[in-house]
């Protein structure tokens, strides 16, 4: 394969497609096959040749793959990556449509079984190129399919992982928790790496719903970056939270969870203010007490106006049951459940 001409290579591809030799065809488009070092296949513009000999969509796919080889031979890896991703996207997408619309075969042979596998591959691509809105039609198709519970466990876990991440991005935290928890619990015990990946997204969601992870869990999966974050949120320690977020900023940004972790600030305010309430043991709390609490967190620029604003926001969001009396400069909280549990709010 390292010495064939371009015509011979294309002929091999054509025959592989025609004879439904999926795995051989895949090898011919893969980067692990020796054909990639063949200088006769390193063409800057292979499109004409491909269009002459192959039908769409294979002509575009193979042309893109050949351009990728050319780019790699010129050490232009950015270009190469772009082309190879396109190869995957195009072939998956039209394959997905073929599978989804397969109405002719019986249930055992139906191409619909391929749907979840393809969706998972497409999710991977869409997350990498940051076009999450493209996931929606796939999710809709799978949801309305009558086979959705019969796919293999591995496929279901991968599917729920991506759907959970999408829900997280859309700020639907309850469904996100459901999906990601499912993925985590059903993930095979030996796939430590996969379980860790799921946890990276499950942890922030759980924390927003008020459930803090234990130290053992974090240590077991090598996620100690979350340790300080967890501690500061449950203690209501804003100072430590800011420090923790800054310290592991790069890691959180790379995983795409930094913005969600910032939402924990509101939970932290709530926990801090609850402590003030528990200390003063009264239902009419002077606003000054909260200002003092902020100053203790070394937030010296938070004055009375801002404290009132933060409290008003917490009341609006349902984290505090009560009202602020401007005349008496007091926060008056409900005698029943002034600080509803986090899992019941939002």
């Amino acid at each position: 394969m390292a010495h064939v001409t371009i015509n011979q290579y294309l002929q091999e591809v054509y025959e592989a497609i025609d004879n439904h030799e999926g795995s051989f065809c895949a090898e011919l488009l893969s980067f692990k096959h020796p054909h990639v070092v063949n200088p006769r296949l390193q063409l800057a513009s292979p499109e004409e040749k491909c269009q002459q000999l192959l039908e769409p969509p294979y002509d575009e796919m193979v042309a893109a793959h050949l351009r990728c080889i050319y780019a790699v031979s010129n050490h232009d890896f950015v270009e190469a990556y772009k082309f190879q991703t396109l190869v995957s996207h195009k072939e998956e997408n039209c394959c997905f449509r073929v599978c989804a619309s397969d109405n002719r075969a019986g249930i055992e042979d139906s191409k619909k079984w391929g749907m979840m596998f393809l969706s998972n591959q497409l999710f991977k691509i869409y997350f990498k190129i940051n076009k999450l809105h493209l996931c929606k039609p796939l999710i809709r198709a799978i949801d309305s399919s009558n086979l959705k519970n019969d796919y293999s466990p591995a496929q279901k876990v991968t599917y729920k992982y991506y759907v959970g991440r999408k829900a997280m991005f859309d700020s639907d935290f309850k469904p996100a928790e459901e999906f990601l928890s499912y993925a985590f619990h059903h993930c095979h015990r030996s796939s430590q790496k996969n379980k860790r990946m799921i946890l990276i997204y499950l942890l922030p969601v759980k924390m927003l719903l008020g459930h803090m992870p234990t130290h053992q869990l974090l240590r077991k999966y090598d996620l100690m970056q979350f340790a300080d974050v967890t501690k500061s949120v449950s203690e209501g320690n804003l100072l430590l939270l800011n420090e923790a977020l800054a310290k592991h900023e790069t890691f959180f940004i790379r995983c795409g969870i930094f913005l969600i972790l910032e939402k924990l600030k509101i939970i932290t305010y709530r926990n801090l203010f609850k402590k003030v309430y528990l200390l003063l043991r009264t239902h009419q709390l002077p606003l000054d007490a909260f200002v003092v609490a902020m100053k203790m967190m070394q937030l010296d620029d938070v004055d009375l106006d801002e404290v009132q604003c933060i409290l008003a926001n917490l009341i609006y969001m349902g984290h505090i049951k009560g009202y602020i009396s401007h005349q008496h400069q007091k926060l008056v909280v409900s005698k029943q459940i002034p600080f509803p549990s986090l899992s019941t709010v939002s």
Binding site: Q51, L259, A312, I315, Y323
Partner: protein, 398 residues
Amino acid sequence: MNRRRAPRRISHSQRRDAPAGGGGGGWRTRTEEQWRGPGKSQVIEGDTDERHGDEAVPRGTCQTMCPARELRDRQLQSRLHRFEVSAGTEGDRRPKGDPLRVVKEYSRPAAGKDLTNPADLRPAAVLLKTVCYLVDDIVASPHLHPWTEAYSFAFDRLRGVKQDMIIQRVSGSTCVAILERTVRFLIYASYRLCGEPLRLYDPRINDTHLQENLSWLLDCYGAGAGPHANQDELQALGLLYNLGSARATQHVMGLPSRLRSSPAITLALSINRAFLERNPVRLLRLARRLNFLQSCALHRHLVTCGRDLLLIYSHGFSSRNCRFPLDEVAQLLSLDASLAARLCQAHGVAVNRDNQLVFSKAAFTEPEHGKLHCKLYHGIVAERQRGLGVGNLIHGSA
């Protein structure tokens, strides 16, 4: 080879027209467009000809702001703008074009129209000179009234400049210099013309073009070798203009930490954070530190800010005996008492006889659609201008 069918006829129109040698060019351009997205120019510097093989990149040769052919044509058809006409000939049946004032207009691409004639394209250096003319002599001119007309003219001619840049695949420091000025101009206009009637100024069209130019500029920053002297300023402006947007926030968070810790971006990030946390008091306090152009970028979000404040206070202070001084709200929003009262009433917050507000969560309403409250906040922005010239503002030499 056992071919069972004849080679397929290629039906793309580009391929039919393309010369034999450069047959692949048309196809390649199409798919590159698809992959990179329309409107984004190739920002690969140097050796562009080699990369694109047979298809040479058009190189303009027109040294004037308007190609001679267009000047002649428009003069003949009496299609010169009043800013382009030679002094003294305005009343003529066919006014003469002043070559120092005529600027190539934007021309929508169409099938069969060849926009790549080198005599009609202006090279990068001429484009930059054109932009400077537009800024100094049109946008910043104290003599051209009304300003909506100066804006329309400059908007269209800048679009023509951008078109020339795309066709010639301009990149590098000249491209950045042009885009920075365009972005600053459009941000300034978004404030100055806010509230004008739709037939004179359309905020959505301004916004679309602002986002396109900004997006290209950010690409240039990301792709090209630095240093870009104004990058921190423009990144901050982009974030302030797109306050609260997850995409914009993620982009700024992904910048190198040295850049992110610049004062402009740090302030923009803090304001963005306050917006996302729904802390309008903090937001408005931080916003006092913004300069004029940054305030212009932020100003359209002040309406949401004010509304958020009244919303959460309506819930937070909701009680039968609530009495909240109007003056305090006025001070938080940096508005005078009468404007603050109008705002409150529009949101269903009652103002009693002693200028006290009665907050009630049941009473809060979203204001009627169409009632433009943005202008209430313009005073805050206006006072930041403080004699700053528009020209300096757009060139960034402030």
